[in-house]
C-alpha cells in the first residue's frame, strides 16, 4: 500500500514513557529538530518507511501528564492533539505511548486523549521491564476494553518496534468513541483506570525488589546522596580535562600539519596569509575543543537519560529554595553548562512565571561549553599541570573553582532578584525509573551536537576569523614603518580605542580586539587571539604556539582578570536572542546584558588588582 501523501503520525504520552527512545528507534538519523511556530518548544520530526513501503512522518510531541496544560510544553501537546495548532493540520493518527510498567499513571492520560475522538493507536512500551516486575498484561483484553488497537514494543531493543511498524501498514483505526467528560472527570478517569487494571493486569509471580528502591536508598540519602551528587559533578569536570587530552593532541597535530601542508603548497602572499592565518589558524584553535565539549555533553545526556537528574533536583531543592528557586530550576541550569540556549529553552517546564524569569536571568552565568576553550587556553598557559596530593589535577581543580564561582554568583543573584517573594513554588517532580542510557540514543544526540558545533566552526567562526584577519592585515603599514604591522591596521586601531575602558582591568589591546568577535560566539575569542598574535609575531604563525606566547607576554593578573571576566561577561548574541524569544521583551535582554557586564567588569577589576597586590 503506498499513499501519495505521507501518513502524519504524532507520538504522544507521559514524560518518561520511553517516547523519545522509540522515536529514535523508528526514525534513526532521519530527524529534523526545529521549533513550533511562535514558541521555543522543540519540535522533533522524523521520517520512516513501513515494511510495506508507506511513507510516514512522525512528530515527537513534548511529554505531558494531562491536557490541562501547566507549562508551554504541555500546551503545545494539547493544541496539536486537538488539531488547533497554528498552521499545523491535525495528525492523521495519534500514537499514544504508555509505559507498561506505569500503567496507572499513563492510562489516565490515554483515557483523557481518547475523549478527543481522534484515530488512535496505543503502544505498550517497555514490555521487557514489565516482565521483570512479574506482571502480565492481557493485551487482547485491553484492546477490547479500550476500543482501539494496542501493540507492544521494547523501545530500547533493536527491532523492538516491529509491531508498531506493522500496525502503521494497516488501515487507520476508526476514531475513538468521543465521550463527554463526566462532571467529576478527574475521579471518573481514575475509576476507569482501576477497572482496566483489574481486568487486564495479573501478577504472575512476586516481583523482584524494585531496583529503584535499592538505588534510591543511597542516591536520595541525606548524606550519601549529597556525596554521590558532588562526586558525579566533580568527576564530570575532571573528565572534561583529562579524557579529552589525547584526542585534543591528535586534532592539534592534525591542524598544524594541515597548516604546514597548505602553507607549503601556496605561494607566499596574501592568499597564503588568508588561508593559513585566517581560516586554518582560526578554525583550528576552536576545533581542538570539540572533544571537551562532546565529553561534557555526553555526561549531561547520560545523566539525563539514566533518570538521575530529577534525583539531583530532589537533593538540591532546598538549596535552590535558599536562592528562592525550586529544584525544577536545576535541570535547565545544568543544561546551561553545555549551552545556555537549550538551557533557557528548557525553562519552559517551570510553571511559576517568576521562577522561570529568574532562571533565565541566571542561566548565562552557568559556565557554558563555549567558555571552555577560553578557560582551557588560559589555564593551560598559566596554571602548571601539577598533581595535588597525588590525585587531583591542579588545572582541573582551577576549572572546578571557576564553575563553583559561577554557581555561587548565580545563587546570590537569584536571591537578590527573588527577595520579597512569598509565592508558592510547586516542585511536583516525577522521579522516573532508572534506565541504562541507550548507546544509540546517546550517539545520535552527540552526533547532532558535533554537527552543530562543526557547522558553527565552518560558518560563523571561519567567517569571523577571515574578517578579523582582514581587519588586522589592512591597511598595511607604510613603507619604512617600525613596529608590528598590526599596529597600523584597523583592528589595531579599534583595539587601541577600546583600551581606555579595559586597561583598568588589565586587558591589553589584543584582548580588546578579540572581545569583539567573541560577542558572536565566545569561543571565537581564542581563535581571534590566535589570529591577532599570529599576525603580530613573525615566527608564530600557527595557533598551538599561543600557550607559550601568552604565558610570556601576559602577566598572571591579566590572565586571571580575563578568566574572571569570562565567568560573567554577557558575550553571546545567541543567548541574548533566545532570551528575547523566550520572554518576548527587550527589557529582560537589556537587564541581563547590563547586570552581567557590570558583574564582569567588577570581578575582573577586583581580580586584577588583588592579583597585582599579591604578586607584587
Amino acid at each position: 500500500m503506498t499513499d501519495a501523501a505521507p501518513l502524519r503520525v504524532a507520538l504522544v504520552g507521559n514524560p518518561n514513557c520511553g517516547k523519545t527512545t522509540l522515536f529514535n528507534q523508528l526514525t534513526g538519523s532521519r530527524q529534523k529538530v526545529a521549533n513550533y511556530a511562535g514558541v521555543t518548544v522543540e519540535r522533533k520530526t522524523g521520517q520512516l518507511v513501513t515494511p510495506a513501503g508507506r511513507q510516514v512522518v512522525v512528530v515527537d510531541l513534548p511529554g505531558a501528564y494531562s491536557l490541562t496544560a501547566t507549562s508551554p510544553d504541555e500546551a503545545v501537546t494539547r493544541d496539536v492533539c486537538r488539531g488547533g495548532y497554528k498552521g499545523e493540520p491535525a495528525p492523521d493518527l495519534l500514537v499514544c505511548v504508555v509505559a507498561a510498567t506505569n500503567l496507572r499513571l499513563h492510562l489516565r492520560f490515554l483515557l483523557e486523549l481518547r475523549q478527543l475522538g481522534r484515530p488512535m493507536l496505543v503502544v505498550l512500551n517497555m514490555m521487557d521491564a514489565l516482565h521483570q516486575q512479574g506482571l502480565r498484561v492481557d493485551v487482547p483484553r485491553l484492546q477490547a476494553e479500550l476500543g482501539m488497537p494496542v501493540v507492544t514494543t521494547i523501545g530500547t531493543r533493536r527491532g523492538g518496534a516491529a509491531d508498531l511498524l506493522a500496525a502503521l501498514d494497516r488501515p487507520l483505526p476508526a476514531p475513538a468513541i468521543q465521550t463527554a467528560p463526566a462532571p467529576d472527570a478527574q475521579e471518573d478517569l481514575h475509576a476507569q483506570v482501576r477497572h482496566l487494571l483489574a481486568l487486564c493486569v495479573t501478577r504472575e509471580r512476586p516481583g523482584a525488589k524494585k531496583l529503584e528502591s535499592i538505588i534510591d536508598h543511597w542516591v536520595l540519602h541525606p548524606v550519601w546522596g549529597m556525596i554521590i551528587l558532588f562526586v558525579l559533578l566533580f568527576v564530570m569536570f575532571q573528565a572534561v580535562f583529562s579524557w579529552a587530552q589525547p584526542f585534543m593532541d591528535m586534532l592539534e597535530a592534525g591542524m598544524t600539519q594541515l597548516g604546514e601542508l597548505v602553507g607549503a603548497a601556496l605561494p607566499e602572499g596574501l592568499l597564503r596569509g588568508l588561508v593559513v592565518d585566517g581560516v586554518i589558524a582560526g578554525a583550528g584553535t576552536v576545533i581542538v575543543f570539540l572533544p571537551q565539549i562532546l565529553i561534557l555533553f555526553l555526561w549531561i545526556l547520560a545523566l539525563e537519560e539514566s533518570g538521575y537528574l530529577p534525583r539531583a533536583a530532589f537533593m538540591l531543592d532546598r538549596l535552590m529554595a535558599v536562592a528562592g528557586l525550586s529544584g525544577r530550576s536545576f535541570i535547565p541550569l545544568l543544561s546551561s553548562f553545555a549551552c545556555a540556549v537549550p538551557g533557557i529553552m528548557s525553562t519552559r517546564t517551570i510553571q511559576n512565571p517568576r521562577d522561570r524569569l529568574v532562571t533565565i536571568l541566571i542561566a548565562p552565568l552557568m559556565t557554558c561549553s563555549a567558555r571552555l576553550p577560553v578557560y582551557a587556553l588560559l589555564i593551560g598557559a598559566f596554571v602548571p599541570a601539577r598533581r595535588l596530593m597525588g590525585v587531583f589535577n591542579l588545572q582541573g581543580l582551577v576549572l572546578f573553582g571557576l564553575y563553583a564561582l559561577a554557581i555561587l554568583s548565580a545563587l546570590i543573584v537569584a536571591r537578590v532578584l527573588k527577595r520579597g517573594d512569598s509565592e508558592e513554588h510547586p516542585l511536583l517532580l516525577e522521579l522516573p525509573d532508572y534506565r541504562v542510557p541507550s548507546l544509540r540514543s546517546l550517539g545520535l544526540e552527540l552526533w547532532q551536537r558535533a554537527r552543530i558545533f562543526l557547522s558553527r566552526v565552518g560558518t560563523i567562526i571561519v567567517s569571523l576569523s577571515i574578517i578579523l584577519w582582514a581587519l588586522s592585515s589592512f591597511p598595511a603599514p607604510p613603507p619604512g614603518a617600525t613596529g608590528p604591522a598590526i599596529d597600523w591596521s584597523l583592528a589595531g586601531r579599534i583595539g587601541h580605542l577600546m583600551l581606555p575602558i579595559f586597561q583598568p582591568i588589565g586587558f591589553n589591546w589584543q584582548i580588546c580586539v578579540a572581545l569583539i568577535p567573541g560577542l558572536a560566539a565566545r569561543e571565537v575569542a581564542v581563535s581571534a587571539l590566535g589570529t591577532v598574535y599570529s599576525i603580530t609575531g613573525a615566527e608564530t604563525d600557527t595557533a598551538q604556539s599561543l600557550v607559550p606566547l601568552l604565558s610570556s607576554q601576559w602577566s598572571l593578573a591579566t590572565a586571571l582578570s580575563l578568566l574572571a571576566w569570562y565567568v560573567y561577561a554577557p558575550q553571546c548574541f545567541s543567548t541574548l536572542a533566545v532570551i528575547r524569544r523566550e520572554t518576548g521583551t527587550w527589557r529582560v535582554v537589556l537587564i541581563t546584558a547590563a547586570y552581567l557586564f557590570g558583574l564582569a567588569y567588577a570581578a575582573a577589576w577586583l581580580t586584577y588588582h588583588i592579583t597585582r597586590f599579591v604578586t607584587g
Binding site: Y65, S66, T68, T70, T101, N102, L103, R104, L105, R108, Q133, L135, Q186, E187, H190, R194, H195, L197, A198, V201, T202, R203, G207, K209, K210, E212, S213, D216, H217, L220, H221, P222, V223, G225, M226, P310, A313, F314, M315, D317, R318, L319, A321, S326, G327, Q351, E424, H425, P426, L427, L428, L429, E430, L431, P432, D433
Partner: protein, 97 residues
Amino acid sequence: MLLNSLPLSGCGVIDHVNERTPHDPVARRLGELGFVPGEAVRVVAFGPLGHDPMAVEIGFTRFALRRSEAERIVLRGSKENPQASSEGLSYEVAGQE
C-alpha cells in the same frame, strides 16, 4: 493525618486532596499524577535539609513533593505499617478499591 506527617517508610491510603484556594492548580495536578482517594502511598526519602522535599511512592511511580504540597493530601486514619509497603502498592489491591 496528612501525608507530610508520615515518617520515613511510612504508608497510608489517600482519603482526599484539599484545595488550598478555589481551583488550586497544585491540587489539580496532584490528582492528575494519581493522588486520588483510595491510592496507597509510601514515603521513600526525605531531602537533606529540613526533611524537605519528600519522595513519595504511589503505585510504581515516585514523585518529589515539597512538604507544603504534601500537606494538601489527607490520609485515611491509618497507622504507619512498613510491612504493607510492597503488597499494598500492587495493582491488584488498588484495583479492588
